[in-house]
Amino acid sequence: MVHAGDAWVGRFRAMANPCEVLVDADDEADAAAPIAIARAEAERIEAKFSRYRSDSVVGRIHAAGGRPVEVDEETAQLLDYASELHRLSEGRFDITSGVLRRAWTFDGGSRVPSEADLAAVLPLVGWTKATWRERTLTLPPGMEIDLGGIGKEYAVDRAAALARAASDRAVLVNFGGDLFASGLRKGDRPWTVGVDDPESPGGAPLLALEIGRGGLATSGNARRFVRAGGRRLGHILDPTTGWPVEGAPRSVTVLAASCLEAGTYATLASLRGAGAGAFLEAEGVRHWIF
C-alpha cells in the first residue's frame, strides 16, 4: 500500500490485469480493510469464473462434455445477464465467441485465418446452441463460455460495494482500466481519472475526467490488431461471421451509473463497429471515442 497523491492505494494483479484500490483516507489503518476486501473479492471472482482453471465453475462447464451442469445462484445471475445481453445486442454479444480466438492472432502482423480455420470453429459459436434453463446449462461438446467480457466489470462493482460497506471512506476501484468511484472525497472533491491515449497507453492521458460516483469502462486495445488487405482489423470479433467488426473504434470509453453498465455499453458499442458513436448517442450515454 502506498500513499499516492492524497489517497492510499493498494496495487495487485488479478484477472490478468493490474488492479488498484484507492481509499480517501489519511491513515493507512483506515485504508487497509477496504483494500483487503476489494482484493479478496477480485481474487474470489477470478478463481470462481476463470476459464484457465479446471476447478472453476467455467472449468467445470467445459469439462462436462455436453452433459448438463447445474450452477450456483451467482453464476446463474451472470448467465442470465449474458443471455439478456445476447438478446439486446441481437446476437453480437456472445459469451461463446471466445473459441474464435483460436483462429485469430492479433499481434499486429498480417496472419489471417483461412476459411477452413474459421469453418472449424464457427460451429462452436452461438449462445442459441446452448440450453440455459433455470439453473442448468448444457453446452454442446467443444463449446466454451468466457465470462471475461462482463466478469471484470462485475468484480469492480462488487469489490467497490463491499469495500464501501466496510469503511466510511470514499473508494475507487480500478481493475485493468474498468473502474468505479463510490462517491465524492472529503471536502466534496471528485476523483480525477485519466483516459489513456489508445496509441500510447501509459503515456500522457488524452483527457482527465472528474468523477464523484459512477462507473467508467473502456473497450478496445490499439495494440491488438491484425493487418489484412491494407486494412487494420481490431480484436473485436463478430460471432456471426467470425471476422473482426469493421470500423470498430480503437477505444470507446463510457461513463455510467455502474462499472458493469459502462463496460457493457463500451463493449456493445465496439461490436457495432463504425456505428459505435451513433449507438451511444441514441442511448444517451456519456462517452468518448478515439
Binding site: 439478456e84 433455470e134 439453473r135 458493469l260 442511448e283 450515454v285
Partner: protein, 437 residues
C-alpha cells in the same frame, strides 16, 4: 408510403439498466455463502396488559440451509399466560358475578369490567422445509401442532414461488389447511343461554382452509414492492366458549343478567396487503397497508411504518409505528335488551368490536463482536381502545331485523348504557438472539 425497414434500433437503456440492477443487487453486500449454514434464533417475549393478562413466551428456532438453497427449519414455542380477560359483560352498578362452565365463580366489584381469570400454558411445534425445484421455482412445505388445556391445532401448508422477468418479479401461491379442536373446561356451553346447558360433545372441531397469492417486484435496485391477497374459509365451532353478553333492562339501563355468546359457524376472511421496502442511503424504510374484510361484516385497516438506521457497523435502531382500526362484526353488541327476542348471534368480545390499536416501538440490534451473534431488544407500547359505543349505536339505530345473510344485524338495545371502556395499556418487550454457525 414505404415501409421503413431500417429503423434505428430502439434504445436498450431501460432493459440494460434493469439487467445490471438485478445482477448487482442480488447477493450484495455479502459474499455468496459457499457451504451450508445453521442459524439459531431464540427470543423471550414479555407482554403485560395493565390489570389484565401477562404473557411470558420463550421461543427457539433452528434453521439449516444447504448450499443448494434447500433449508429445513424447526421451531418450538412455549407460553404461559396468566391474568384476566374481559368476559364481554358490561360493568354494572351492582356487584356482578360470573360463573363459568367449570363451576368457577368470580365476583366483580361494582363499576369494574367483568373478567375471567385464567392461567394457561401452551406449546407449539412447527417445521418447514424449503426445496428449490429449479433456480426459478421454489416450494415450501410446513406443518404445525399446538396444544393447550382447552384447544389444539394441527395444520399443514404449502407454498410455491416462481421468479419471472430476470428475477425481477416473484409470484407466490400457497394453500393451508388447519384442523382445530376446542374442548372447553366443563363442556361446551350452548350459545345465548345462561350457560347451564352444554352441547353433547365435549370437543368442538373447527376447520380452516386458506389460500394466498402474492407478487413481489424489484422496481429498482433500491425499491421492492409487494402485494399479497389471502382468503380463508372457516367452519365449525367459532364461538368463544367463555365469553358472555350482558342483558340490560330496557327501561332502567341496568345490567340484569348475562348470556353465553354465539357466533355463526362459518366465516370467510379476506385480506390484501401492500408493502414497500425502500433503501434510502444505508437506511431502510418499510411501509405497509393491510385491508381486511370478512362476511361477519368485520373490516379493518392496518398501517405499519418501520425505519431502520445503522448506527455503526455493529448496531442499528428501528423505530416502529402501527395503527389499527376495525369496524365491528354485524352481531357485535355491548348488551342485549332483557326480555326482547334473542338474535341468532351475539358477541361482546372486544376483538369483534370497534377496536383501535396504536403501537409505538423501537428495536435495537447490536453485536458484541463482529463474529458473534446479534442481539435484538424490542420494547413496544400498545394502546388498545374501543371507539365510542354511542357512535356505533347511532349507525345501527332502528329495530333489529334479519340481514340478507340470515344474521340478525344488530341486537344492541337502543337503551343499552353508553359504555366508556377505558383504553387498555400494554407493554411488551422482546429480547432475541440470533447467530450463524
Amino acid at each position: 408510403m414505404r415501409l421503413q425497414l431500417n429503423e434505428p434500433a430502439a434504445p436498450i437503456k431501460s432493459r440494460l439498466r434493469a439487467a445490471v440492477c438485478v445482477l448487482l443487487a442480488t447477493g450484495l453486500p455479502g459474499v455468496a455463502r459457499a457451504e451450508g449454514s445453521t442459524q439459531l434464533d431464540s427470543s423471550v417475549l414479555l407482554y403485560g396488559e395493565r390489570d389484565r393478562a401477562d404473557v411470558v413466551e420463550p421461543t427457539v428456532r433452528v434453521t439449516r440451509t444447504r448450499a443448494n438453497g434447500q433449508s429445513i427449519s424447526v421451531g418450538l414455542v412455549y407460553d404461559v399466560i396468566t391474568g384476566a380477560s374481559p368476559t364481554g359483560a358490561l360493568p354494572s352498578g351492582q356487584v356482578q358475578t360470573t360463573t363459568s362452565a367449570s363451576g368457577q365463580v368470580t365476583t366483580v366489584p361494582a363499576g369494574a369490567i367483568p373478567t375471567t381469570t385464567f392461567q394457561d400454558k401452551r406449546y407449539a411445534l412447527d417445521g418447514e422445509v424449503r426445496l428449490p425445484l429449479t433456480s426459478l421455482l421454489a416450494s415450501t412445505f410446513a406443518a404445525h401442532y399446538s396444544s393447550e388445556k382447552d384447544y389444539s391445532s394441527l395444520g399443514a401448508s404449502t407454498k410455491l414461488s416462481y421468479d419471472l422477468d430476470q428475477r425481477r418479479i416473484t409470484v407466490t401461491a400457497g394453500a393451508a389447511f388447519d384442523r382445530d379442536d376446542v374442548f372447553p373446561v366443563g363442556g361446551t356451553p350452548l350459545g345465548l343461554t345462561d350457560g347451564s346447558g352444554a352441547l353433547d360433545s365435549d370437543s368442538q372441531p373447527k376447520h380452516i382452509a386458506s389460500g394466498l397469492l402474492g407478487v413481489a417486484r424489484v422496481v429498482s435496485r433500491r425499491w421492492l414492492l409487494s402485494l399479497t391477497g389471502t382468503r380463508a374459509r372457516e367452519d365449525g365451532y367459532l364461538t368463544e366458549p367463555y365469553k358472555v353478553v350482558s342483558t340490560v333492562d330496557a327501561t332502567s339501563g341496568e345490567t340484569v343478567g348475562q348470556l353465553t355468546e354465539n357466533r355463526p359457524d362459518e366465516r370467510t376472511r379476506n385480506s390484501v396487503l401492500a408493502g414497500s421496502v425502500t433503501a434510502i442511503g444505508a437506511d431502510v424504510l418499510h411501509v405497509s397497508y393491510r385491508y381486511y374484510w370478512d362476511d361477519w361484516s368485520l373490516e379493518s385497516h392496518t398501517a405499519d411504518l418501520m425505519y431502520r438506521h445503522d448506527v455503526s457497523d455493529h448496531s442499528w435502531i428501528q423505530p416502529h409505528l402501527r395503527w389499527y382500526a376495525q369496524n365491528p362484526a354485524s352481531f357485535y353488541t355491548t348488551g342485549l335488551a332483557a326480555g326482547a327476542p334473542l338474535p341468532a348471534f351475539a358477541s361482546s368480545d372486544y376483538r369483534l368490536g370497534p377496536l383501535r390499536t396504536m403501537t409505538v416501538g423501537m428495536s435495537f440490534g447490536f453485536r458484541v463482536a463482529a463474529s458473534a451473534g446479534e442481539w435484538t431488544i424490542r420494547p413496544e407500547y400498545i394502546r388498545q381502545s374501543l371507539a365510542s359505543s354511542r357512535a356505533h349505536e347511532e349507525e345501527e339505530d332502528g329495530p333489529p331485523e334479519p340481514g340478507d345473510d340470515g344474521l340478525t344485524q344488530s341486537a344492541v338495545a337502543a337503551s343499552a348504557p353508553a359504555v366508556e371502556l377505558p383504553p387498555l395499556d400494554i407493554l411488551s418487550l422482546v429480547v432475541a438472539y440470533s447467530r450463524h454457525f
